[in-house]
Point group: C2
Chain length 144, copies 2
DNA sequence: TTTAATTCGGATAAATTTATCCTTTATTAA
DNA sequence: TTAATAAAGGATAAATTTATCCGAATTAAA
């Protein structure tokens, strides 16, 4: 469904958000450890998220990654997915046709529209804050 | 969503089914041309579908691929997807966690269950026959 | 019986994704 | 001012997916 990069990206963002709720700034090292992801690769993905203004980064000692409380509400999963995987999950034909649309649909078109709008709605309505609080109160988990 | 291989596989299967409805057996060459896919790669995928008893193959002159009328009803998309991409689209965590389940869910677990069961239902209830007839009467398209 | 058409199967190449390593830059604190 | 810490960025490697090529096996028709 999502690429590995995107999976790590979402997990990292949720972890950062949870820690930011406690006022803690976290390093790549800690993040990779806590979400059980390859550290150097995770660093790359965090760079992408930073460039896309999804998370904030601070260099130097005591530096690390954080997310503003307000951004946790604004940033929906859709924004993270788009920053990493692009919009191929929303746009484009389920069977890979370039010119598939309601006028000239592929055999799966109508059924796919349903499934995907379902997914899109989910991603567009789920905020980082929502995911982070579930984590914080111990309802959900990020490792393994 | 699906791998390229799976996209080609579904398109090929639908095309073969449509031609089989007309009593025509088709070659890899024709298939690749008609569904606009790389021929040698498509041949590999057709081998997989044959091994999984999704389509039938006949060697030699006048040989090619075909699907029995009955199989068109029996074979749902889920079977094709499983033969090519495995069941990772059904099973497993949206965020890539190994031990994610209702007891120890990832932050996205519940929302993902919905989206995916939607997808699973669609794949399990859509038959090759259904897709092939849409093609045959000119309601849907496979190329481009 | 030979020829030609077709799938099958193995080897390999190209492209993309995943992952690592190392140097540079920024910044804090001693 | 220096040393240490952390992210940024570039180069490269490993793994996987996508794709091609070619000889072998099968079979129908000439």
């Amino acid at each position: 469904m999502f690429s590995k990069a995107c999976e790590y990206g979402i997990r990292a963002a949720v972890y950062i958000a949870m820690q930011s709720l406690d006022g803690r700034r976290v390093s790549v090292n800690e993040i990779a450890e806590e979400i059980d992801s390859p550290m150097a690769f995770t660093a790359k993905i965090l760079q992408q998220l930073t460039k896309n203004n999804i998370i904030d980064s601070v260099k130097g000692p005591t530096g690390g990654f954080e997310i503003e409380r307000e951004a946790m509400d604004t940033v929906k999963l859709s924004k993270i997915v788009k920053a990493i995987d692009g919009d191929k999950i929303y746009v484009g034909c389920g069977l890979g046709l370039k010119e598939c649309n309601a006028d000239k649909p592929c055999p799966l078109h109508d059924k796919f529209v349903d499934v995907r709008s379902n997914l899109r709605t989910m991603l567009q309505s789920t905020s980082l804050y929502e995911l982070a609080t579930g984590l914080e109160v111990g309802l959900t988990y990020l490792k393994r």
